[in-house]
């Protein structure tokens, strides 16, 4: 797969637009002693799913914000990197929510934004960490690496931005929620993902699949 079809709901001031965007260049931030670099990764790791399955009993989940190239200006989203260390890097998921904002409406109040991480079912959620947005590399710094002359991202690009020292060890099964709260505009971007174990079958006893024929009043030529 060389592209991922991202289907965001972009919340504007009084509306929602739903551009479908082909992502074919995906970057993760790589924090080094000299600063932040961007590392290209395969788009097959991207998902907007709300349910994921793992063989590991423990995952490392790193909250992230997401920058997406779009015709009307860079989109700003929320997501996370999920590492199942038993499977190597190819088994990782990069989550990106189907909700996004326009970056240009945030640039004057990044100091009023923070991550709020919760775990547990909706009715019993517990906050496990709150993180000021200022601890993350700034969007301008990341955009500059792909487009030194401008403020827009190149077509088809998506950047997953994490920061050092912030990751969560999460037991499976669990429900993990990452939220970027914009206290200035009183709104939030939320993605909640249910993490399931491949070792536990919630459907036991699992029956053999059946097939149906259809109209039984006619002559049916068996198709198998």
């Amino acid at each position: 797969m060389t592209h991922y079809l991202y289907k965001p709901h972009v919340h504007g001031r009084n509306n929602i637009t739903t551009p479908d965007i082909l992502i074919d260049r995906l970057y993760r931030t790589l924090n080094t002693q000299y600063g932040v670099d961007l590392l290209g990764v395969g788009v097959k790791q991207l998902t907007s799913s709300v349910e994921l399955q793992f063989s590991a009993s423990k995952l490392t989940i790193t909250p992230a914000y997401v920058l997406i190239a779009a015709g009307g200006g860079v989109l700003f989203g929320v997501g996370a990197e999920i590492d199942d260390e038993t499977q190597g890097t190819n088994a990782n998921f990069i989550l990106v929510a189907r909700f996004a904002w326009r970056l240009k409406y945030l640039q004057d109040h990044f100091d009023k934004m923070k991550f709020v991480i919760k775990v547990g079912p909706v009715s019993e959620q517990q906050i496990i960490e709150e993180i000021d947005f200022s601890r993350f590399p700034s969007p301008a710094t990341l955009i500059e690496q792909l487009n030194p002359q401008g403020t827009e991202l190149p077509r088809g690009a998506m950047i997953i931005a994490t920061t050092t020292g912030i990751a969560h060890q999460i037991n499976v099964p669990e429900i993990y929620q990452v939220n970027i709260a914009d206290t200035h505009l009183d709104r939030g971007l939320i993605h909640r993902v249910s993490l399931f174990s491949s070792e536990q079958d919630g459907r036991e006893p699992r029956p053999i699949p059946r097939y149906a024929i259809g109209p039984t009043t006619g002559d049916i030529e068996h198709y198998i």
Binding site: H9, V122, H191, R192, P209, R210, P215
Partner: protein
């Protein structure tokens, strides 16, 4: 009473604010979803005025009358076709969705979280390749009991709100089932089931089904059946030459399905009547649609019908509800 009618089509959901005379879609720049999104189902609830749930090929959406837009509801159904939606009559936070492939997803917290029910419907079908849910109903006598019909795998019933299911097909001439109607009798109730091979009834809670011979029906393909809201004796049933069909009729029974007569539609339908919509807010106001876009309206409980001038594309469901003040 001012009402809004909703038509779920292969080009999004159309709205009518004038009793079906004219139809519009919310504009794409502000409406919340793409105007050619495929939509199969719309669902309203008396306790949620101005709110509509829509099942599409890109996920589940909720219309906000106040915001005048569709809001996306994250769910595990984003890559499925959401063909049917039902909300518990007692509690609109309990939402059940039926999909293609034929699966049932249940939320008990207004769509915040979802569980896939352990429904063991057929996973493959000679006739339509992939099975699909054609109707979902909460049992009028017990909100924990759910009935569904599947094309093509018969009738399923759950008495524990989706935890376990009974497969009820004994006596059906065909498992291509489309819809159910529950009729209260003196000491027992009758359940009607529309199928590809005629109308069936059960007087033992679905344990067995009996074919009903209806001479007024020129074809066997029974699609939508619906009870008049305030009169359990009156039932409407649509019959087509085939799916999607080139001809069809509407039948009315005034005696719980014992006898039928052909309804006087003002002009022929050009495809099978796919859905009949009632609402307890006005039992006499009924909309019906054909799958290829015709819309008819009755304001006298189905005694007379008027065809709306506007023809939409492919309509899979029609609904109406009072418009909030």
């Amino acid at each position: 009473m001012k009402i809004t009618a909703y038509a779920a089509t292969m080009q999004a959901v159309w709205f009518s604010e004038d009793m079906g005379e004219t139809w519009l879609r919310p504009p794409t720049p502000t409406g919340g979803f793409y105007n050619e999104i495929r939509c199969w189902a719309v669902c309203t609830h008396p306790q949620r005025p101005g709110e509509v749930l829509a099942g599409t090929d890109q996920g589940l959406y909720r219309w906000s009358h106040e915001q005048q837009r569709w809001n996306y509801i994250p769910s595990p159904m984003d890559d499925l076709h959401i063909l049917q939606i039902a909300q518990s009559p007692d509690d609109p936070k309990i939402i059940i969705c039926g999909t293609r492939p034929a699966e049932i997803f249940i939320s008990e917290d207004d769509g915040k979280s979802w569980q896939r029910s352990n429904l063991n419907a057929a996973t493959e079908c000679w006739f339509i390749n992939t099975t699909r849910v054609t109707s979902i109903q909460f049992d009028p006598a017990d909100a924990d009991t759910i009935w569904i019909t599947i094309e093509i795998d018969g009738v399923f019933r759950s008495r524990d709100r989706g935890k376990t299911w009974d497969h009820l097909i004994d006596g059906l001439r065909d498992n291509d089932t489309h819809n159910l109607v529950f009729l209260n009798g003196n000491n027992r109730r009758t359940i009607l089931c529309s199928t590809e091979a005629g109308l069936h009834k059960s007087i033992d809670e679905g344990k067995s089904w009996q074919y009903m011979d209806i001479p007024q029906a020129p074809w066997l393909y029974f699609r939508s059946i619906q009870r008049k809201e305030n009169d359990s004796n009156i039932i409407f049933a649509s019959v087509g030459d085939k799916p999607s069909g080139e001809a069809g009729i509407l039948l009315i029974s005034r005696d719980q399905g014992q006898s039928w007569e052909k309804a006087a539609l003002p002009e022929p339908v050009s495809s099978t009547i796919w859905w009949i919509s009632t609402n307890p807010a006005d039992p006499n106001l009924i909309f019906l649609c054909t799958i290829f876009g015709q819309i008819f309206r009755s304001q006298d409980g189905g005694e007379s019908w008027r065809k709306m001038q506007r023809v939409l594309g492919e309509i899979r469901m029609i609904a109406w509800a009072p418009t909030p003040e």
